[in-house]
């Protein structure tokens, strides 16, 4: 059984809850009082992850940290279809890795702004965090706009979403917590709707579900 060291309001933990829900993988959670308890900085937790960061998983004794690394691990191990983390196609795999790194950039900006505004991490530079997030969102919005034109629903080519979509989604969806509106990113907003309609999607606090998808015929007619 997988144990997820989890904090409800963490977008990084949410990434793993999402993937495991999409894959139908069962897991247990160990609740970590990240805020205000700072339990992830406790001596006990540091033994699990010396970086003092969430998330961490323990899969039958294999302890892993870092959201993107764990996404890669879980998808490789538990997705027999190989679609979430497509190792068979080097070009595609390269793109997935590129956007996983991009997701780290989103965490460093949009998530930082959120920590500043919502959880009162006042030492963070809010202006540069917000500006950095907007810069990334502009890049992603343009990418998704042209992906749509190409008939592509997801960040990487192909008919199926990948761990890159999962890695980017939470802190984009929670960006308003950090004072980063998404009005200027209509292609990102449409992608968010599509993401929420992936079978097995679950919400976290602060993320609302999407409405019903249109019938395929209606969508094509429109």
């Amino acid at each position: 059984m997988i144990t997820l060291y989890d904090y409800e309001l963490s977008g990084n933990c949410y990434k793993l809850r999402l993937l495991m829900s999409f894959l139908g993988v069962e897991f247990e959670t160990e609740k970590i009082d990240f805020y205000p308890g700072l339990q992830h900085k406790s001596e006990e937790f540091l033994k699990l992850n010396p970086l003092g960061q969430l998330p961490v998983i323990d899969d039958d004794g294999l302890v892993l940290r870092d959201a993107q690394a764990i996404l890669v691990y879980l998808a490789s191990k538990y997705d027999s279809s190989g679609q979430w983390y497509p190792t068979g196609d080097p070009a595609l795999l390269g793109q997935v890795s590129q956007w996983l790194a991009f997701a780290d950039g989103i965490t460093g900006t949009a998530s930082a702004a959120r920590l500043h505004d919502s959880l009162l991490y006042r030492h963070l530079d809010i202006d540069s965090a917000r500006a950095g997030a907007h810069n990334l969102f502009r890049i992603l919005d343009e990418h998704l706009y042209f992906a749509e034109l190409d008939g592509q629903d997801w960040i990487c080519p192909g008919d199926h979403p990948t761990v890159a979509d999962i890695a980017c989604f939470p802190y984009i969806m929670l960006s308003e917590d950090g004072g980063i509106p998404r009005m200027d990113y209509p292609a990102i907003r449409r992608w968010c709707d599509r993401f929420k309609r992936i079978s097995g999607f679950v919400v976290m606090s602060g993320v609302f579900p999407a409405g019903p998808a249109p019938a395929k015929e209606a969508e094509q007619a429109a």
Binding site: E8, K31, S118, L120, E176, D177, G206
Partner: protein, 285 residues
């Protein structure tokens, strides 16, 4: 706009959680748009200062695990919460959260049951069970607002509740920025669990919410409490931050009340009668 409401300025407000202020720490926060520095020296002594050249000290109290101050001359004491002195209760802070909306909107949302099935889906409510039954509202002789006999169908009313139940709430507005609820304890129907929000007005459109919970211990785990509070509050937050305008409008024609909003209607009138202008949009004459 700075605050010129005596009723607010001469009142006590939370500016920090005591446990989170380490020895040698200085925290900057804002109260009524005025920067305030809360510090703890190496001996544990706490001070609260203004951001003036002389760093004038402000009055200070430590109560319920929070540090309180007052920018004016305190006219009345911090509210008394008897539940906080009952030994068989967990006394837990929910964690302080910054919210980009008038604190008065936060209070009004806290008084609202109608949103449970839509915002707290699966926890405090669930479609199609959406009805808000009639309830009682009164303004007490102590000038507090009480809403009682508030019933709502909840699928998961508390971390330990099993299956859906009809839950009874009583709501209480003590002061413009202080609101609490009493909720039937699932194990002891004659006792209430208690949650109070101490809302720190940062600006007219910004606040920090300091929740404080007094829950009967039996049948409950302490760390679950904070988790549950945060789960619920973080569901409200995007709703609150998507309200236009961000200030609470006191004009009766600014928004559309329904019967379920009886307590909110009284709250808005009461704010108007007390001439609370900080965080509100005034009624148009």
């Amino acid at each position: 706009m700075t605050c010129d409401n005596k009723i607010l300025l001469n009142d006590w407000h939370v500016v920090a959680e005591a446990d989170l202020l380490a020895f040698g720490d200085v925290q900057r926060t804002v109260l009524f748009e005025e920067p305030v520095y809360v510090s703890r020296d190496e001996d544990g002594g706490i001070t609260v200062r203004r951001n003036t050249a002389d760093g004038a000290k402000l009055p200070l109290q430590e109560k319920y695990g929070f540090i309180w101050t007052c920018l004016g001359a305190p006219e009345r004491d911090i509210i008394h919460v008897p539940e906080a002195f009952e030994p068989d209760r967990y006394l837990v802070s929910g964690g302080s959260f910054g919210v980009k909306v008038s604190g008065l909107r936060v209070v009004e949302n806290f008084l609202d049951m109608g949103h449970f099935p839509f915002v707290h889906t699966g926890w405090l409510g669930e479609e199609p069970h959406t009805e808000v039954q009639p309830y009682e509202v009164e303004l007490t002789k102590d000038d507090e607002i009480i809403a009682s006999e508030c019933y709502f169908y909840q699928p998961q009313a508390s971390p330990t509740a099993e299956g859906g139940i009809m839950v009874e709430y009583t709501y209480r507005v003590y002061r413009p920025y202080t609101v609490a609820l009493y909720k039937t304890n699932p194990t002891y129907p004659d006792r209430n669990d208690y949650i109070v929000l101490f809302v720190q007005p940062v600006g007219p459109e910004d606040c920090i919410v300091h929740p404080y919970l007094c829950y009967v211990k039996d049948g409950m785990e302490e760390d679950t409490l904070r988790w549950f509070m945060q789960l619920i509050f973080a569901q409200d937050k995007p709703i609150l931050e998507n309200q236009i305008p961000r200030k609470l409008p006191l004009d009766p024609r600014a928004e559309t009340p329904i019967r379920a909003d009886k307590v909110a209607i009284l709250y808005r009138r009461w704010l108007r009668d007390h001439q609370v202008t900080f965080g509100t949009l005034p009624a148009v004459a």
